[in-house]
Chain length 351, copies 2
């Protein structure tokens, strides 16, 4: 039951722990998933090159199993205007005040993708996965020459085909159910909202590359389901967010486990880019004016201190509460136990 | 592999041919699906009581296997105003002219649901399925006393629970991938757009009733997938639309089989109620002003002649091109062959 993709990557279980940028994917979580036969992924988009390097070393100190590093390779085209910066600072000021911090000033320069990529090539994880766009031909070549398998993220059949033509090694199809940022890069995200079941069914016919399915997968039944559709593995993010190894904040954990779950929604309020999370007051207030704020990734930068302060205060109302549509099925257990439960539910005997 | 639900209904294959109101679900299609072990469904919402009776008799003349009749049990609350009627008539006039017919006048009184229900109770199909709301306790009781199994349609976990508490016999969960009208009845449809995989995963934990999954299911792999998630059967609509037995118009077939598929979108342009279909000019023009038009079902009535004329002219640009998200996977073959292919792909040996 171990398929070609798993063989190539070196996985014993058809489970990828999805890259969740923003601190959820700790060394402990990644290494636990990889140690248990899956593929842990480091969401490295917001990490400095130095932190990426040190984190990769720490993972390797814990496991000699393969892991992935994920970066954002697009969507950072627009520079914020002064008017946008002023407006954003004004609109965020009451939030900053509420948490006793200063209103955000101009966004920082951000982390240079090319320096992050240098470290990835140097560190050479088994898999380099990316989202928000297309890796350049040079980057794909450089990965290949270093024995790094590449995985692009697609939200439409059109994007699956574009990634295939670009020469990636595998494609992760992200259904509209997925928590966190949409990987859409060819069309507006509203036109790229496919259910994972429909998208996977079409993707496996549109490409001969291995397809990994993502979006709302929470149980072993869901793993079997996407394998039945022809996927080579299931990518699961939210499913791991309640694991003790995950870097999920207490306030975020609290919201994921609410007895009466709140809905999720796609919002640009936190970063400027569409992402799925549990609704809260910040989303409700900022969404209406987000188009006047600085664009991605500057907005992510300008909201960061408020989100941190809210997390420290244990207040979920100003956190980006990323979560997939089926988040009420998330289970609070150690990653190794969750892996065992998932494989048992999936009736997986390949491990 | 035949589960309790299938046993109770009398199905040999875990496939429900979904009810598609508007002429697609012909006697020939329904009886072919039921004869081949599935459950054919008559989309009867737009049919007069007399036609429902005659159609049911015609199905019974062709097969003694079980079948379902489906009706709309809600969403018809609002009466159109004169201003809405005038606006709608004006906006539709150029379309009527283009097909050489008169601009639509005031909408007719519609077909009385209670008279449709009388016939359903009298005809007593094996299954009465319904959408757009909740069947009354009296109706559910009447069905039970006549040996008719009931199936409600849910688009959220909340709706699954409401139907369960109301006492239906089974729940069809409709993922956001599904073609045609959304069954949503408790909240705005925008808040009720769950991928079928996530929704099924949650539904089977939220109810002890049999769950049928619908939305974007086109292949045997998709059937296996939803069974893996704990569903008792797959409900497939678009998958059957290219069958020669289906009442799908030539223009609609043409659009379903386009080499370069157009996107689908949820639109209120044709009926006033959100429904998924392939985009065309009518959708693009009317969607922007639909909120000023008469509400459902009056808008459906007022657009009917234009849709018919467009179909007769072989012009897809004014047709309601209902289609699920994975419609490019629809196969042009007789229903019996499609059933065999689906069961083969699903590795189903129960038949």
């Amino acid at each position: 039951m171990i398929n070609d993709f798993m063989m190539q990557v070196g996985m014993m279980a058809p489970i990828i722990q999805a890259p969740m940028a923003g601190g959820v994917t700790t060394v402990e979580l990644i290494s636990a998933v990889s140690e248990n036969g899956g593929l842990g992924s480091l969401g490295a988009a917001y990490l400095t090159p130095e932190v990426i390097r040190v984190t990769a070393q720490a993972i390797r100190a814990r496991t000699d199993r393969p892991f992935a590093i994920n970066l954002f390779v697009g969507g950072q085209e627009r520079e914020p205007t002064n008017a946008q910066i002023d407006f954003t600072s004004d609109i965020l000021e009451p939030w900053a005040q509420a948490y006793g911090i200063e209103a955000p000033g101009a966004p920082g320069p951000g982390i240079a993708l090319d320096r992050q990529l240098e470290v990835v090539l140097d560190v050479a994880p088994r898999v380099f996965s990316f989202t928000f766009g297309m890796a350049s031909p040079e980057l794909l070549r450089a990965c290949r020459s270093r024995g790094i398998l590449t995985m692009g993220t697609a939200t439409t059949v059109e994007e699956v085909k574009a990634l295939t033509e670009a020469g990636v090694d595998s494609v992760c199809v992200q259904g509209m159910e997925a928590g966190g940022h949409r990987g859409t890069f060819l069309r507006p995200f509203e036109e790229s909202m496919f259910g994972v079941l429909a998208l996977t069914s079409m993707a496996v016919q549109a490409t001969s590359l291995p397809v990994v399915a993502a979006g709302g997968l929470m149980t072993g039944g869901a793993i079997r389901a996407v394998l039945d559709l022809g996927a080579s593995a299931a990518s699961m993010g939210t499913a791991f967010m309640l694991c003790e190894e995950a870097g999920t904040s207490m306030a975020h954990r609290y919201m994921l486990a609410l007895e009466k779950p709140r809905p999720t929604v796609i919002t640009r309020a936190f970063s400027g880019r569409p992402a799925r999370g549990i609704i809260n007051r910040f989303h409700e207030q900022i969404s209406a004016v987000q188009h006047l704020c600085v664009p991605f990734p500057a907005l992510n930068d300008m909201t960061r201190d408020i989100r941190r302060a809210a997390a420290n205060a244990g207040d979920p109302e100003a956190l980006s509460l990323w979560a997939g549509q089926a988040y009420p099925l998330a289970r609070d257990m150690p990653a190794a136990s969750l892996m065992a439960v998932l494989l048992d539910e999936a009736k997986w005997f390949g491990a």
